[in-house]
């Protein structure tokens, strides 16, 4: 019992057994493969098929109910299988396995179309038959060639290369030689890669990718991106090695023009009655259709560049390696390169977004509301990111496997899903953005300290103050490291310092957050828990703000303002230095915080270099204990009136408060002062000398007078007398 199907075969309706149909199909497919390189392939096959159809018709008119296996086999035997054609029809000399034979046929001058060609001699081979092949080619003893190979330095490498590239005479015996040609049918640029692929009987994408690897590697050197690196990026990407090799191969390898050359290029022994080959053929068919499509575009490009080069005054001849072709090549190479880069970059970017969003996904519960927003997020992940990733991967795999389905339904489904993904993405952004739209009302909250009059206040966090840094290779934590099952901590804590107006410390806490509207934001701010407490001289502050799944992340932040009285010491722990600022700026955020202008007046700014140091508040700002200023722009316009209060001479403070400048000015003042002192000393000395001289003179005169008066008497007597 066999199933009979009706087929439309060359305009005839033929009832045929299913198995017979399979046989027939296999046969026509094998014909298609066999005549693949024939010019009038379709016509030949058409003719044969219509003849078969005629024979079918005959059988049916003779009274058969349907075509059976036997009928098909008889017809096929009559028509002949491709194997039989190969015997009767081959253009190739059947037996030219040694070059001597070829030479002999050359001497007779006709009958065989072979030129003397280099083959590896499979009959006299030692390793790969390279040496014996060369020897046969030059008509010398193989041992000579072998010795040359052994004793020359490059022998080994050359041997391997020749082994790979010189066809074995084995292939020739099989009927068709194998030679390396450029394949014009499947060319992308010049057909080098496709020729190599045909030669080694591998997929054309393998040599292409090998050539592209240097191009691809640069893509992973992300440093090359960016406008500043453009020249660098060019030099690396156009990796000259692969390009030069390609051009050399292009110039060296001949193009396969004729059918015979194309057969040589493939070097297939045609044995075609297997299903495998029919599959291969199917793929080839598809490929040819695609190349036809590409041909039009290519022709246009070639035309354009040819006319261009003609205009430039070069006579472009159709020599195949003309100037025009080189321009075509360069244009094409550049075009493919750019397209490749863009594609790879897109893939990379998409994958990056995918990875990041997957990384974010566990945290989605802390940002998004359940319900629609969650659905949008899933939609975005699956359709907006997932679909293109899957699509591109399938495209690449298809391209490599040379499978192409014209399944429009699938294509449109993909497109529709992606559009849905875009919709989800936009909705997600909009809906999340509107959740961040409003800000809460600012409420200053005075924290009562248990011991505000302490001399030194240390600001620290609950728990350990050590900071452990984790140096992961791939670090992707959207929020701070604290992360457990149902709460997340964010670091949005800011410490501000102002000068206290009285002589005790005080702390003001401000909570801020966003929300859908002000009311929501206010309730969320009320819910925020942030603990501050003082124990002895230490002010303990929460390390972060806790966010639960119920109260979502809405840019919560806390500003702790510490008022430091003059003459007292403050020390903010180093852990606050490593705070990260988690913030989401939705597209429709209006960041309208009600800043209290009083705060800014006395704020100490720029002390952030001094975490973990003892700082002392002086009348004109914060100082380190060794007397350097710890703040930067204390003396801005806001503090003018304050300056007046402290009777600080303006010239002094405006003279620059950075350490070096102050020191310099002090130094210069010192030297000036010293000089002045020296001068004064000098002048005093002079005056002293003069006085001394005068005194001496006076004494001399007195002595002279005395001598005049008491000349006759004894000097001692005189003194006694006085």
């Amino acid at each position: 019992m066999k199933k009979v199907i009706n087929i439309n075969f060359q305009g005839r309706v033929v009832p045929i057994e299913e198995t017979a149909f399979e046989l027939l199909k296999q046969y026509t497919d094998s014909l298609r493969v066999y005549f693949a390189n024939e010019d009038g392939r379709d016509e030949i096959i058409n003719d044969i098929e219509s003849r078969i159809g005629e024979l079918f018709q005959e059988r049916i008119t003779k009274g058969s109910t349907c075509i059976t296996d036997d009928d098909v086999n008889a017809i096929i035997n009559n028509m002949g299988r491709p194997k039989d054609f190969a015997d009767a029809d081959s253009d190739q000399p059947q037996d030219s396995h040694t070059t001597q034979n070829a030479q002999a046929s050359n001497e007779y001058g006709q009958g065989f179309n072979t030129n003397k060609r280099l083959y590896r001699d499979a009959n006299n081979k030692f390793i790969g038959g390279v040496c014996s092949g060369i020897a046969a080619y030059f008509n010398i003893e193989p041992i000579i060639v072998r010795l040359v190979f052994i004793f020359s330095g490059v022998g080994f490498l050359a041997y391997i290369l020749l082994w790979a590239f010189v066809p074995s005479s084995d292939n020739v015996q099989n009927g068709v030689r194998k030679r390396l040609y450029r394949n014009p049918d499947e060319k992308m640029i010049a057909g080098v890669c496709s020729g190599i692929a045909s030669y080694f009987n591998i997929n054309v994408w393998i040599p292409r990718i090998l050539f592209l690897i240097p191009f691809i590697t640069f893509l992973f050197r992300w440093g090359h991106f960016g406008p500043l690196y453009f020249p660098n990026f060019l030099s690396f990407s156009f990796s000259p090695g692969a390009l030069i090799i390609y051009i050399i191969l292009w110039l060296v390898i001949p193009e396969a023009h004729s059918t015979a050359e194309k057969l040589e290029m493939k070097g297939e022994k045609v044995d075609l009655n297997s299903i495998k080959n029919s599959v291969v053929e199917e793929m080839r068919d598809v490929q040819q259709r695609m190349s036809k499509m590409g041909k039009e575009a290519r022709d246009i490009a070639q035309q354009k560049s040819k006319t261009m080069s003609a205009e430039m005054g070069y006579a472009v001849k159709k020599t195949g390696r003309s100037f025009g072709d080189i321009i075509v090549f360069l244009v094409k190479a550049f075009g493919y390169f750019i397209i490749g880069c863009v594609l790879l970059f897109l893939i990379g970017a998409l994958l990056f977004v995918a990875v990041v969003s997957i990384g974010f996904f566990p945290l989605k519960g802390y940002i998004l509301n359940d319900g629609w927003q969650s659905a949008y997020a899933w939609g975005t992940l699956l359709f907006f990111i997932g679909v293109p990733v899957v699509g591109i991967i399938t495209f690449i795999i298809r391209r490599i496997a040379k499978v192409k389905s014209n399944n429009n339904l699938m294509r449109y489904t993909f497109l529709a899903l992606w559009v849905l993904g875009i919709f989800c993405f936009v909705s997600l952004i909009y809906s999340v953005g509107s959740d961040f739209k409003s800000t809460n009302t600012i409420n200053e909250q005075n924290i009562s300290l248990s011991n505000p009059a302490v001399k030194k206040l240390e600001v620290s966090t609950f728990g350990s103050n050590r900071f452990y840094s984790r140096n992961n290779f791939f670090h992707m934590e959207p929020f701070a490291n604290f992360f457990d099952e149902d709460s997340v901590h964010i670091d949005n804590v800011q410490i501000r310092m102002i000068k206290s107006l009285n002589d005790s410390f005080s702390v003001i806490l401000v909570k801020m957050c966003n929300g859908r509207n002000r009311r929501f934001a206010d309730t969320l701010a009320d819910k925020m828990v942030f603990n501050i407490s003082q124990v002895d001289s230490v002010l303990y502050v929460d390390r972060g703000i806790t966010i639960t799944r119920q109260d979502k992340f809405r840019n919560q932040k806390v500003i702790v303002t510490i008022a430091v009285p003059v003459g007292k010491i403050i020390n903010v722990n180093k852990r606050f230095r490593d705070m990260r600022w988690e913030h989401f700026n939705g597209p429709w955020n209006d960041d309208n915080w009600d800043w209290n202008s009083d705060w800014d007046r006395d704020e100490v700014k720029g002390w952030d270099r001094h975490y973990g140091e003892d700082l002392i508040m002086k009348a004109d700002g914060l100082y380190t204990l060794d007397g350097h200023r710890a703040d930067t722009d204390w003396n801005n316009d806001n503090n003018k009136d304050w300056d007046d209060d402290t009777n600080q001479p303006k010239s002094d403070t405006t003279q620059g408060y950075r350490y070096e400048e102050t020191q310099k000015s002090i130094d210069s003042l010192k030297t000036i002062q010293e000089k002045q002192i020296q001068k004064m000393k000098d002048s005093l000395k002079k005056a002293k000398d003069q006085i001394d001289k005068k005194l001496e003179n006076l004494e001399e005169k007195n002595a002279a007078k005395a001598a005049v008066y008491q000349w006759p008497g004894n000097q001692t007597d005189f003194i006694v007398n006085i």
Partner: protein, 129 residues
Amino acid sequence: MNIENTASQMRKGVLEFCILSVIKLGEAYPSDIIDKMKQANLNILEGTLYPLLTRLKNAELLTYRWVESNSGPPRKYFLLTEKGAAFYKELETTWEELANAVETLTGKNGSDINTTSTTNKLNADEKSN
């Protein structure tokens, strides 16, 4: 070198000539060509005929026209072009020269033929053994 190979090479050489001479007699349908050649004891597979015809057609030696058939779709009938006729003339002279040469060579030395045929037989025997 094997005998079948050489034989098929020889056959192949004259095949085109034979086909052209059949078509020269008048428009021909491929299966008719096959039949005529079979009658002349020159067996050829239909599958090899079609590609040959197409090649000759592409070389503009042959052309064809569609002839309505009473059973099924129209058939292709091949006929010689002017170029084909000239080509045939040339082939004919070549063939005559060749045939003459072979005849004189083979006819002149009959003993040689015998020896070659016996060696062939011997070869065949060896193979079968």
